[in-house]
């Protein structure tokens, strides 16, 4: 029994991490007042570029007769996926902040664009590689569970806390850092002000455009890293057509579930992750698999109902979210 629960929890954490990364990126973005619905697109862009980045690094070194290094390969994937997500967000930021285009439409376009981008280059490199594109065992090893001496060997607790791949710890550290940023730092306070009421922030001498650009682009980069997790960890370094599909939208829902708090995001991501992989651990006879697949989405609907009924001022979407700002508007 304990084994099943432990396995379920571990799987939940592993499945929840890409959602957490996507949600953290979107929290940062929404706190600046930009409602970027392109999370799925940016995750796709990060997923394919991260994989291809590592793949190209390996190919280049192997061709030169050097043995690729797993850590460097992982760093390449991290950097490239961040840049790809940030690039997607930059398109969004330019359209909404500079050109003041509608945020919802722009976000949806980014999702469609990113999905096509990911699947196109996935197929393209797959064909070029002779069927499918995959990274070598060196890179795979870099994304496999860590073994920390002593800590990982603690019974149960070691398994539950200290045997994940490095990206899980990266995501949690990011959430903690973001929590500190919003709570304590001056820049976090300014960013919250920009998202709540850009006119008030502007009057207080805050450069609204700069904060919005930075938050949106960095947020997009974090979403891209979340996508890279999908292609490197979830599918073990092999490109699977449409591997991110649905995750981006769940990340957007998770932002609401977490009520825009990075800290609550950790918990909620694990819950969502658990709901997604539940069918492999809890089987109810006669219940079709499709019902299990529906559970996260049903939970999202429930959360939306609960949050809209609660109407708390502080655990709500930033008041300026979704609205573009133009100082001389009358």
């Amino acid at each position: 029994m304990i084994d099943i629960v432990t396995a379920l929890l571990m799987a939940a954490v592993l499945a929840g991490t890409p959602l957490l990364l996507g949600a953290l990126g979107e929290i940062l973005t929404e706190k600046s007042g930009n409602l970027n619905l392109g999370v799925e697109g940016m995750m796709f862009m990060g997923a394919i570029t991260g994989l291809i980045g590592s793949y190209c690094y390996e190919q280049a070194l192997t061709a030169a007769g050097i043995v690729p290094n797993g850590v460097i390969s992982a760093l390449v994937a991290l950097t490239v996926s961040f840049l790809a997500g940030a690039f997607g967000a930059l398109i969004y930021a330019f359209l909404t902040i500079t050109l003041r285009a509608n945020q919802n439409v722009t976000g949806l376009i980014l999702t469609i664009f990113g999905t096509g981008f990911g699947n196109f280059f996935g197929e393209y490199f797959g064909l070029a590689a002779g069927g499918y594109v995959a990274v070598s065992s060196v890179t795979k090893a870099a994304f496999s569970p860590l073994h920390i001496p002593l800590l990982s060997e603690i019974p149960i607790l070691g398994k539950l806390l200290f045997q994940y791949n490095w990206m899980v710890y990266f995501a949690i550290a990011l959430a903690l850092g973001m929590f500190w940023f919003f709570r304590v730092s001056r820049f976090g306070l300014n960013l919250r002000a920009v998202g709540e009421d850009p006119a008030a922030a502007d009057a207080a001498g805050i450069n609204v455009s700069r904060y919005r650009y930075l938050a949106t682009v960095i947020g997009g980069g974090i979403c891209g890293i979340g996508g890279m997790y999908m292609s490197m960890v979830t599918t073990s370094g092999v490109w699977v057509h449409g591997c991110v599909t649905g995750y981006g939208w769940l990340a957007v829902a998770l932002v609401i579930f977490a009520t825009w708090s990075p800290l609550r995001g950790i918990l909620v991501a694990i819950i969502f992750g658990g709901l997604m992989i539940m069918r492999m651990y809890v089987s109810i006879p006669g219940l079709p698999a499709q019902i299990y697949d529906m559970v996260p989405y049903v939970a999202t609907i429930l959360v939306l109902i609960i949050t809209s009924v609660r109407q708390s001022k502080e655990h709500a979407m930033p008041a300026g979210c979704g609205l573009n700002y133009f100082r001389e508007e009358r």
Binding site: A193, D197, A200, G205, Q311, K313
Partner: protein, 531 residues
């Protein structure tokens, strides 16, 4: 005042246009060191535009700005702070979910983390120095309007502002709070600060300022010493011609009861009691004024009467005028559980001019004819609407009410505030209502339009309509109403004869319910101030 006093700010030949609208044309402004300068003008005269160029919100198309004698370029609010200029905007620029201290420290440079303790200490010091009261740890959404204003003022003082600009600071304050604010302003002046205050209330200009600068239609008219002028002369400069500031109040006809509210109580969806045991009667052929601080239940009251927001308990009854004007009164009808549509189907004509004209009253993107049609399109037979009669009515309104518009097919959102209000009020009056409820009907309107609206309301009163006038300007309310009902926190603190009380007494009733005691016996010159 001495001509040799150095200038804190000087703006010369300022031009600013928004699209085709010329908001400022060759305007100048001179603020002397350590004085309070009142900037006076009607709505749309360009006062706010002018000072917004000083605070960095707008950038002038042409013109020079000098601060302490040096030419400067102000591109953003940040530049303004650096020049020690601080502006308190009419619509507060505060973040509701943050505390007062966080709002005050917003956007300032400094260490990476915020030292709340030192901010609190500095805020307390400023508050004591100028006579404010403020708890820096409270969230803005918990604060009253005047507390929010205090935060705004401390915010600019905290940034070291020596030149303060206040845009319509008294518009949201009670007379008592206004007095407190003026005391603070005098303290700041004594401390050597230079202050620009924007207002269109003449008696406030005379009470607080050293000099007055007048703008009209975006142009500079004159600057005068306050001590050498009076209300009549200021008005003439502001409007461009002499104007009679008296609002007419024809004798009420003493008509029959029209609308009766009995123990009306409303609780909103958050469980807050917005109206508490409200009972009063409105008679045909009178104007019942309703005074109160913003948010005292005025909106809930309107919406309960017209059927938009059913009351939690209590009743509203309507007594229709008898068709053949016979002596026997018609039967009262309960209307408090009816929707606006159901009320109309019973043949009760209830006219409502809401506070939010373009949100609730009219559809901004539709033209005048369509907006007029909204009231009556259901009446026709068949699946098609009749556009002929609404168009005729729209044309009649444009002519009779002097609505300035290119045509009946101009979308309402593109008209100026006064013209929007005329379309709305005109449409409502055209229904020949039994009850006319108007909420803040002259807000944002210039003097001419305002007086036109007062005339229209008096006309309806003469026709035997029961008029409910919800207002914010006490001077106006006390001049036009036959009876004045004062709301305080959702309760009636009294119904008084506006001819027999003073403005201060009404102001007191607005802040606490017990203030009504003993007022009925007193007599005073209530209307003296605005005359």
């Amino acid at each position: 005042m001495n001509e040799d006093v150095p200038l804190a700010v000087s703006m010369e030949h300022i031009y600013k246009s928004f699209g085709r609208v010329r908001a400022n044309v060759d305007v100048r402004l001179q603020l002397r060191q350590g004085e309070i300068l009142a900037l006076l003008g009607e709505n749309g005269s360009g006062k706010t535009t002018l000072v917004n160029m000083l605070s960095g919100v707008y950038f002038p198309d042409h013109g020079e700005i000098y601060v302490q004698g040096r030419p400067v370029t102000i591109r953003s609010p940040r530049d303004a702070f650096d020049l020690r200029i601080g502006m308190i905007h009419q619509h507060f620029k505060l973040i509701p979910v943050l505390t007062a201290a966080e709002n005050i420290a917003l956007g300032l440079s400094g260490s990476v983390t915020l030292n709340r303790k030192s901010i609190h200490a500095e805020v307390a010091r400023l508050a004591e120095r100028y006579g404010f009261e403020l708890d820096p740890a409270r969230k803005i959404y918990d604060m009253s309007v005047s507390e929010k204003q205090t935060v705004e003022i401390i915010k600019v003082l905290y940034r070291g502002a020596d030149i303060l600009i206040l845009d319509e600071p008294t518009a949201v304050l009670t007379p008592l709070e206004t007095e407190k604010l003026f005391a603070v302003l005098r303290n700041m002046k004594a401390d050597g600060k230079s202050i620009i205050i924007i207002t269109h209330k003449l008696h406030e200009v005379l009470a607080i300022s050293d000099r007055v600068e007048i703008l009209r239609k975006g142009e500079f008219i004159a600057t005068v010493e306050t001590a050498t002028t009076n209300q009549a002369r200021l008005t003439e400069m502001m409007v461009g011609r002499p104007i009679n500031l008296m609002i007419e109040r024809p004798e009420a006809s003493g008509g029959p009861e029209r609308l009766e509210l009995n123990a009306l109580t409303c609780v909103d969806h958050e469980g807050v009691t917005t109206l508490d045991d409200v009972s009063f009667t409105v008679y045909a052929g009178e104007i019942l004024g309703i005074a109160g601080i913003a948010g005292s239940g005025q909106r809930e009251l309107c919406e309960a009467i017209v059927g938009l927001n059913p009351p939690t308990s209590g009743s509203i009854s309507y007594s229709p005028p008898h068709p053949d004007l016979a002596k026997t009164p018609c039967e009262k009808e309960r209307i408090d559980r009816l929707s606006p549509g159901a009320i109309a189907r019973r043949g009760i004509s209830m006219a409502f001019v809401p506070e939010d004209r373009l949100g609730m009253g009219l559809v901004a993107s539709m033209d005048i004819t369509d907006n007029v049609m909204l009231r009556g399109y259901r009446k026709g037979k068949g699946p098609f609407v009749d556009r002929v009669r609404p168009k005729a009515l729209a044309e009649r309104l444009i002519e009779e009410l002097e609505i300035v518009t290119p045509s009946t097919s101009t979308s309402v959102g593109r008209l100026s505030g006064g013209n929007v209000q005329k379309v709305l009020l005109g449409r409502e009056i055209a229904q020949e209502p039994g009850v006319l409820i108007v909420a803040y009907p002259v807000r944002g309107l210039d003097i001419n339009s305002s007086y036109k609206i007062y005339d229209l309301l008096n006309e309806q009163k003469a026709r035997g309509v029961a008029v409910v006038f919800i207002g914010e300007d006490l001077d106006v309310l006390m001049e036009i109403s036959d009876r004045l009902l004062v709301l305080c926190g959702g309760r009636i603190s009294g119904i008084v004869d506006p001819r027999a009380v003073t403005k201060e007494e009404v102001g007191l009733m607005m802040v606490h319910v017990a203030g009504a005691e003993g007022l009925d016996s007193e007599t005073g010159s209530a209307t003296g101030e605005a005359a």
